[in-house]
Amino acid sequence: MRDPSDAEDIEKVEEFLAGDQRAFEFLFDKYREKVYRIAYRFVRHKEDALEVAQDVFFRVAMSLDKFKTDSKFFTWLYRVTVNRSIDFTRQKKSRPRQNLDPEVLETRSDAGYGRTQERCPSELAEGKDTERLLASAVSKLTEKHRATFLLHAVENLSYKEIASVLDCSIGTVMSRLFYARKKLQEILGYGGLESPGRGRIIGKTHT
């Protein structure tokens, strides 16, 4: 059964295709924050993220007639966003910005922070620079792993939704997520296997 939010999206897509520009404005208002947020996590710079977001909405408006209304609008929108963000990041690498995000500059000098200082994420969580460290670690993941991890951990998408956004199988999502997390642990330098603490983990349950 279709989610009410998805049904609403499809309705707006159809209205827009019938010539009502306000319908697209509705979709823009609904998703602009999410698109910007995903873009920001790739490009780590506000103006760049806004530029990506603008490009995303333009492209979506231009190609909405190709969107299949039996799929979810937001997964398609997220795919365009991930694509544009990755493209932007690649282009930026070849022409680095002068006024880099201070966060990025700082984390680049973090070379000494590695496996020698083993910490667990809860210890990291206590530090004020946690966000910066994690963002830096995420930026070191491969594009595939980064996209998968961000869509999962930040956007809270299900494996099925991530598979749909990234156009891969659920098994591939699992694999990428596993290696992304392992890599993050490695970069952040905590010795998960040596921790003395242990507790019972109860994950979300299935119904």
Binding site: R79, N83, A125, L134, D167, S169, R176, K204, H206
Partner: protein
């Protein structure tokens, strides 16, 4: 450590387990293993905490004025045709993850494909059937714009896990 199920059979299920993406029948085995395995419990804790940390990452706020400028920008841009939105992942920079023995076969396939595609469909980018390929909800293979003949060899790190989790509760 559980004598019946070694950690290596469990570790990759830990992520789906903490994410609520592991089918009920598989959960029991993971839970049972964790009762006696500190390492896997710790990994589960770490995975969950990594997610929590990532979720806290803040994003600079955008003002209403900035949003309306962005919207104006979208509307003001002249119309232009848009290419397909299949994701083109980069090739890994290192050869270590690549299946080296398949290189010659891949090269042969690539040459074969190039010739074949020139013969059958003309220049790929200009072929209208290669553009605007919409995604499908299943996200299954076959919707990518890249023809299979030009796909890079499989990376070892991108192996596909075989369990098929059920949909998590909404």
């Amino acid at each position: 450590m559980n004598a019946n199920v070694a950690c290596k059979d469990i570790v990759w299920k830990i992520g789906p387990f903490v994410d609520g993406e592991l089918p009920t029948d598989e959960r029991a085995a993971v839970e049972e293993h964790m009762v006696n395995c500190n390492d896997c419990v710790q990994m589960a804790i770490n995975f969950r905490q990594l997610d929590a940390l990532a979720a806290k990452d803040s994003v600079p706020p955008v003002t209403g004025e900035e949003w309306s400028r962005l919207w104006q920008g979208v509307m003001a841009r002249p119309h232009e045709p848009i290419k397909s939105e299949a994701i083109s992942w980069p090739r890994p920079s290192s050869f270590k993850y690549w299946i080296v023995p398949s290189l010659s076969a891949a090269a042969a396939a690539l040459i074969g494909f190039t010739i074949g595609s020139l013969y059958f469909s003309g220049p790929g980018q200009l072929n209208p059937s290669n553009r605007h390929k919409p995604m499908t909800e299943s996200g299954g293979n076959g919707t990518a714009a890249l023809p299979t003949g030009s796909e890079p060899p499989v990376e070892i790190e991108d192996e596909v896990f075989s369990i098929k989790p059920s949909k998590p509760p909404k």
